[in-house]
């Protein structure tokens, strides 16, 4: 049972939520907090493709929203889009180099923070726009560093390095 992805994936998600709410919420770098839950859809997209990236992004986003006062499912919307986009970029690659993982985590995290700020602004949430560059920088750099171990954890959870990844067919 413990090797079943249906057990491991929720476990990895639970650990990510615990780290996000009980550890990194107490840490500030240049006045900004890391957002390790955003790594869940990124790692899921890299390890399992578009659908898994979007689905796990939705779940991680809902978990994040439980602890916030912003509209429920706002993070779910953003994270599912990030997970899908990462899976789309990764699709067709036969192997993931560590550098690719780091760069993907960096770019996807920056995009995720900006997308969240945009969505929150559209929904009328008050934001301090001047802090956005620092927030983007801190979240992206921390997630870039944690990207490779997060991907390893997600691959372990999903049970296979290539589980569900579609390979482009080569037509003669």
């Amino acid at each position: 049972m413990t090797s079943d992805p249906r057990f491991r994936v929720p476990l990895v998600l639970l650990v990510a939520v615990l780290v996000h709410t009980a550890v990194t919420s107490r840490v500030t770098v240049l006045g900004a907090r890391p957002d390790v839950l955003l790594l869940v859809p990124i790692a899921a997209g890299l390890a399992g493709g578009r659908s898994r990236g979007a689905a796990l992004g939705f779940a991680a986003g809902l978990a994040a929203d439980v602890f916030l006062t912003s509209p429920m499912a706002l993070s779910a919307l953003v994270y599912s889009l990030v997970g899908y986009a990462v899976g789309l970029i990764q699709g067709g690659l036969l192997a993931l180099s560590p550098l690719f993982t780091v760069l993907t985590a960096l770019g996807a995290s920056a995009a995720g923070v900006l997308l969240y700020a945009l969505a929150a602004g559209v929904l009328g949430q008050a934001l301090v726009v001047g802090r956005l560059p620092v927030v983007v920088l801190v979240v992206a750099l921390v997630n870039a560093l944690l990207g490779p171990p997060a991907l390893r954890a997600m691959r372990w959870a999903m049970g296979s390095a290539r589980l569900g990844r579609w390979q482009p067919s080569i037509q003669p």
Binding site: L18, A64, D65, T69, Y116, V128, S169
Partner: protein, 278 residues
């Protein structure tokens, strides 16, 4: 064709999730924090609270290390004791600055609330908002301790914020520094009323609606106004004026204040059992 069918399935999953998210967001807006979704949210927070507390306690030495404090456990209790004493002394000084003007207006302003007369519940900060777009903290007290949405939260130094969400075990406090926060205040020297808004963590708080002809001094005390319809009782220290300037042609002064409370070091607070309109 298998290629095309697989792509359609991926897009279907994304569209389904996006539509579900939009539906939930819409439902949450419609309920305005008082419906099934909010009950579900509160229940999940309460269910998660014990695990969060255990992990928080286990990792707090590591996270505290990032604050760069050596020999933390040995110095912490003394540091807390000294901060409490300093905060109490500051609050007394701030109240004293306003007391003389308040005494002169007492007969004309009967019914004004004083914080000292308001019952309160002590609470501890157990979590900070895990977000860069909200400035909130979570306290270890909730509905089970008579706490309700809208109640002010203070320390010995002054105003911290107000309760915006509450479950049975916990409550969430919107800090003064949150961009969506707004407090009706009064300058202790002139008595002029204005509104202090949040501007994010580690930023001075803007004080709006102060006329250009009002004399504002650096270091002047700012307290809650307690005017009818306000969200807070009167005379709770909010901050001290940092800068005040008048731009040519402006209708109001640009005033910035430093909050009396250090929002980055909140530990023990009091929730005032007072609701707007009381």
């Amino acid at each position: 064709m298998a290629v095309y069918r697989r792509s359609r399935r991926h897009r279907f999953v994304l569209v389904l999730l996006v539509l579900t998210s939009i539906t939930v967001i819409t439902l949450d807006f419609r309920d305005q924090g008082d419906g099934t979704l909010e009950s579900l949210r509160s229940g999940l927070r309460d269910a998660f609270a014990p695990l969060q507390a255990v992990v928080g306690k286990v990792v707090s030495p590591v996270t505290n290390l990032f604050g760069g404090v050596a020999r933390y456990s040995g110095l912490r209790s003394e540091n807390e004791r000294l901060r409490r004493q300093l905060a109490e002394a500051r609050a007394d000084a701030l109240k004293g600055a306003d007391a003389e003007r308040e005494r002169r207006l007492l007969l004309a302003l009967q019914g004004l609330d004083f914080v000292d007369d308001i019952r309160s519940v002590p609470a501890r900060v157990v979590a900070y908002a895990p977000s860069n777009f909200q400035v909130t903290v979570e306290l270890n007290r909730g509905e089970g301790h008579r706490i309700a949405v809208g109640m002010p939260v203070v320390t010995e130094a002054g105003l911290v914020g107000r309760v915006v969400e509450v479950s049975w075990e916990r409550c969430t406090v919107l800090l003064l520094s949150d961009p969506s926060s707004a407090v009706g205040v009064r300058l202790a020297g002139s008595g002029e009323v204005g509104v202090v808004r949040g501007a994010g963590p580690r930023s001075p708080l803007p004080l709006d609606l102060i006329p250009v002809e009002t004399e504002v001094s650096t270091g002047e005390v700012v307290v809650t106004s307690g005017l009818q319809g306000g969200l807070f009782p009167a005379q709770i220290p909010v901050g001290r004026v940092r800068t005040a300037k008048v731009e040519p042609g402006a209708l109001a002064q640009e005033v910035r204040i430093d909050a009396v409370v250090d929002f980055g070091r909140l530990e023990l607070v009091r929730v005032l059992l007072w609701k707007p309109g009381q």
